[in-house]
């Protein structure tokens, strides 16, 4: 009997002597959904957070009355992120819980100052998720971006995740790919860019509850150099081209307009193949073959696409226009910024590892000198429900 009691006692004592009392109730924690990092005086950091107000999100019936905000934004300055967080905690009654942080936004100034000495906090802590989306807010501070509410999403910062995903970008692996790019020799980081906008384009934004609420819009991509300093911006179209070359674009709609017709094609199966070639005199040539398959969305012409010849012609048109656009973007990146955001260096690293050894140290110099030849190969797999547009008469139709 005494033995049994002793054994039981030993087992039970585990409950009290172990260090496992890290139980935290949900309502003792502040759910920190989005982070914003801005510059502060003396090389400091201003950390802002978008925090969910759970009691305002209750979805139970009844309610009525004014829609309440499901979030609030909190911020504080500090020498670095941990310091700032400690300062935030002085005005937060619950412990900040960043395990569900889905979005990080850098103020543009912060991004231009450089990220290299700021990011460690987010990798070192075990409770912070690497599965985050990351953005730069164009011409503003992250604090302001986190304060914008969204008519659809509660908490509002989730809206940026949706925008990023639907537009075919990297989605919630963006933070991870930033870290990967930052540690790689042959790939320079690029981060999607947000900007302030309003629901109705071109009109001044109204207040949150009006029909024209302020919104955050995806506006392209920010280019970073080796030291994680932001160097410039590409617009949304160029951003898509960049992703296509990298082979991670999910979908793309190409449109072209000539004097007698316009047409649109949505590609939903995109791929990219990069073939590096290094000549004897060390001239580097890349052949980028972009492939796309998709469905025809618009064909405002008398062209009967049901005949194979016309379809071929249309495909050629799309190939031509997309080739031209992508080539432009590539050249712009090469000449204006000289930073290999496409990861072409990594391709050499993979395919010609021996030559890469000597190339990698001055890749930022070699990249702008490389020849990049873009080729496109586009196939229309679905025609939709018509041959020529319905609105064209028999006589106008080109068979």
């Amino acid at each position: 009997m005494r033995k049994i009691i002793l054994r039981l006692g030993l087992c039970l004592s585990v409950l009290f002597i172990s260090g496992c009392w890290d139980r935290k109730e949900l309502n003792e924690q502040a759910l920190w959904i989005g982070s914003g990092w801005d510059v502060a005086k003396n090389d400091g950091v201003e950390l802002s957070g978008q925090i969910v107000i759970p009691s305002n999100i209750q979805t139970q019936g009844g309610g009525g009355g004014l829609m309440q905000k499901g979030f609030f934004t909190i911020s504080a300055k500090g020498k670095n992120l941990s310091d700032a967080l400690q300062n935030i905690q002085t005005k937060l009654s619950r412990e900040a819980f960043s395990g569900q942080r889905r979005v990080i936004i850098f103020g543009e100034q912060f991004a231009r100052r450089g990220l290299k000495r700021q990011l460690d906090n987010s990798q070192r802590r075990a409770d912070v998720s690497l599965r985050s989306d990351v953005f730069v807010i164009k011409g503003s501070t992250a604090k302001k971006a986190l304060s914008v509410s969204n008519p659809l999403e509660k908490p509002p910062i989730a809206a940026t995740l949706g925008e990023h995903k639907i537009s075919g970008g990297r989605g919630n692996t963006a933070y991870l790919s930033l870290l990967m790019a930052a540690t790689s020799d042959g790939l320079r980081p690029s981060i999607p860019v947000l900007e302030f906008s309003s629901s109705l384009d071109g009109e001044k934004k109204g207040n949150e509850n009006s029909a024209n609420p302020p919104l955050l819009r995806l506006a392209g991509v920010a280019i970073f150099d080796k030291n994680l300093k932001m160097q410039g911006l590409l617009n949304m179209e160029e951003n898509r081209h960049m992703l296509w070359v990298m082979g991670i674009l999910q979908n793309l709609t190409i449109s072209f307009k000539k004097k007698d017709m316009n047409a649109s094609l949505t590609l939903n199966k995109l791929s990219s193949k990069i073939e590096p070639h290094i000549s004897k005199n060390q001239q580097i040539t890349f052949t980028v073959t972009l492939k796309g398959e998709g469905s025809l969305k618009e064909n405002n012409s008398g062209l009967d696409v049901q005949s194979p010849n016309n379809l071929k012609r249309l495909e050629k048109e799309f190939e031509k226009i997309s080739q031209k656009q992508v080539q432009q973007t590539v050249t712009k990146v090469q000449k204006k910024y000289g930073l290999d955001i496409f990861g072409l260096g990594e391709v050499i690293h993979r395919k010609k590892p021996n030559q890469w050894k000597s190339l990698k140290y001055d890749w930022d110099k070699r990249f702008p000198e490389a020849d990049i030849i873009v080729k496109t190969d586009i196939k229309i797999k679905e025609l939709g429900m018509d041959g020529p547009s319905l609105l064209f008469k028999e006589s106008e139709i080109k068979k």
């Binding site: 139980r23 759910l31 009691s55 819980f97 569900q100």
Partner: protein
């Protein structure tokens, strides 16, 4: 020294509590009828139901009928024995050649089995087992006529195991009825019923049922051995026996299956198992039992096999839900909120807002209330039972959430778990599950997923180590017997179930000859 004393005390105690032995009445039946009568009267002193009925026919020896009121069929007794003797008299002329005992024996033998005994003890035992004792003046033998006719329940549909399709008869409290139900299903001399009497006072009839040639001798020997070891004053239910013969007495998991249904017993006998049928209870025991027996309902074999396979999959999922769902909920929300999808987490956080208790307390509270409701629902008379469910649904379900004492997700989790645990076909496996669930819940509350993992490992080790009459509890999954898997995870059609489980059925027998899969070539439609 102290220890020695203790031992002596214990020994004394044993002596005091042991039952008075009944050795004093091993004496032969005397030829003096009045002496016998006195002995019996002494033995049955203060037994209100004891009847001694003397029959005096002039010129013939005196006859004594002894029986226990209510245990025997009085009508048959009167019609067969009394009426001919009293009204017609004994056949004349024959009296000299044959004794009156032989005459009665011949007369009775037409209706009922009869036995001749020469010891008072045997006579008394017979009377206690609902026989009529017949003592005749001048004879040293007595007759025991089996005229049992006590009140018993009809064969009804078993309430604890209900099917939509399948036979509706269930065992009753009478062992005779129960063996009949089995015999009607297997009309073969190979179905054996080995009788046994257990319990010093109760002398309960126990029958070991098996099919010769299918049940393995080693198993039978083991059953006989374990049953033979039992020393107890009385056996009121088969659980009394179960607790004596199971392999691991302190496991929450049942190692012996019990059932009210003769078709389940028959099916198991055909698989080489052994049934122990106990008088005075409708629950028969089946050994050995595996975990998978506990997960199978009888209807699995009466419904189409595809549907049954689907239901089995669902049952396994529900089993795990019943075991782990509350603990996973507690662990996720209090230790690992990172792992919950953001939107779900916000919903849960919103529901938990304002709830004063920690999640683990909340979950334990709700589980506790749920168990209480369940217990109350069973114990209460049927008329009041429905009140419990109303109180449960309204007070606990809705009011507690509205009052902000518990959060809605916890109620959902506990209710789902409850439903899941009710879907386990064997009630006693379900109870094991409920106990384990509380342990898991506490582990999750203290250690989070780490605790659940520890619990899972411990539970798995325990389960694979369990044995029921030498058969590993998790066969045929661990140890793996591929041949038997087709009746575990899924249920193969009858024509594919060519053998029984290897551990009980043996290796080289078959139930269904191969090649019986129906196909058009074999017919099934007229050409």
């Amino acid at each position: 020294m102290v220890r020695f004393r203790k031992r002596i005390k214990l020994h004394d105690l044993k002596k005091v509590t042991s039952l008075p032995s009944e050795e004093e009445n091993i004496e032969p039946i005397s030829s003096d009828l009045s002496k016998n009568e006195q002995i019996l009267k002494d033995l049955f002193q203060n037994c209100f139901d004891f009847v001694i009925r003397p029959i005096n026919i002039t010129g013939k020896p005196k006859i004594l009928l002894i029986y226990l009121e209510g245990l025997i069929d009085t009508k048959t007794l009167e019609n067969v024995l009394l009426k001919p003797m009293l009204f017609e008299g004994l056949p004349s002329g024959l009296g000299e050649i044959r004794t009156i005992g032989q005459v009665i024996e011949e007369q009775l033998i037409a209706v009922t089995p009869i036995k001749t005994v020469s010891q008072i003890k045997e006579l008394v035992n017979g009377v206690l087992k609902a026989d009529v004792g017949i003592l005749i003046e001048g004879q040293t033998d007595a007759l025991l006529a089996s005229l049992a006719g006590f009140e018993k329940r009809d064969v009804e549909e078993p309430t604890s195991e209900i099917t939509i399709r399948g036979p509706r008869d269930g065992f009753t409290e009478s062992i005779g009825t129960n063996t009949t139900l089995l015999r009607r299903r297997i009309r073969s001399t190979r179905l054996k019923f080995e009788p046994l009497s257990l319990g010093e006072l109760s002398q309960t009839d126990v029958v070991i049922a098996y099919i010769e040639g299918i049940a393995l001798d080693s198993l039978l020997e083991e059953v006989r051995k374990r049953l033979g070891r039992i020393q107890i004053d009385a056996i009121l239910e088969s659980e009394y026996i179960e607790e004596f013969i199971e392999d691991v007495p302190h496991s929450p998991f049942p190692q012996i299956q019990n059932t009210e249904r003769p078709d389940i017993v028959t099916a198991n006998l055909l698989e080489g198992k052994v049934a122990i049928i106990v008088d005075n209870t409708p629950f028969a025991l089946l050994v050995p039992m595996t975990f998978w027996d506990g997960m199978q309902a009888v209807e699995d074999y009466y419904e189409r096999h595809i549907y049954t396979s689907f239901i089995r999959m669902i049952r396994y999922v529900l089993f795990n839900m019943a075991l782990y769902l509350p603990s996973i909920y507690v662990a996720l929300t209090t230790y690992h909120p990172k792992l919950i999808p953001t939107k779900l987490l916000i919903s849960i956080a919103a529901a938990r807002e304002g709830v004063p208790f920690p999640t683990i307390v909340e979950a334990l509270l709700m589980e506790f209330v749920f168990e209480g409701l369940r217990e109350a629902g069973i114990r209460l008379p049927k008329a009041v039972g429905s009140a419990v469910s109303i109180v449960g649904a309204l007070v606990v379900g809705q009011a507690a959430v509205q009052a902000g004492i518990v959060s809605a997700p916890t109620v959902i989790v506990v209710a789902t778990t409850g439903i899941a645990s009710f879907s386990i076909p064997r009630y006693n496996l379900g109870t094991a599950l409920r106990l384990t669930r509380f342990a898991m819940l506490i582990l999750a509350g203290i250690f989070g997923f780490y605790g659940i993992t520890l619990g899972f490992i411990t539970l798995t080790i325990h389960l694979v180590n369990l044995r029921s009459f030498g058969v590993p509890y998790f066969t045929p999954v661990a140890p793996q017997i591929p041949r038997d898997l087709k009746d575990v995870l899924v249920r193969s059609p009858r024509w594919a179930l060519q053998t029984g489980p290897m551990f009980t059925f043996g290796k080289d027998k078959q139930r269904v000859p191969p090649g019986q899969k129906p196909d058009p070539q074999k017919g099934g439609r007229d050409d």
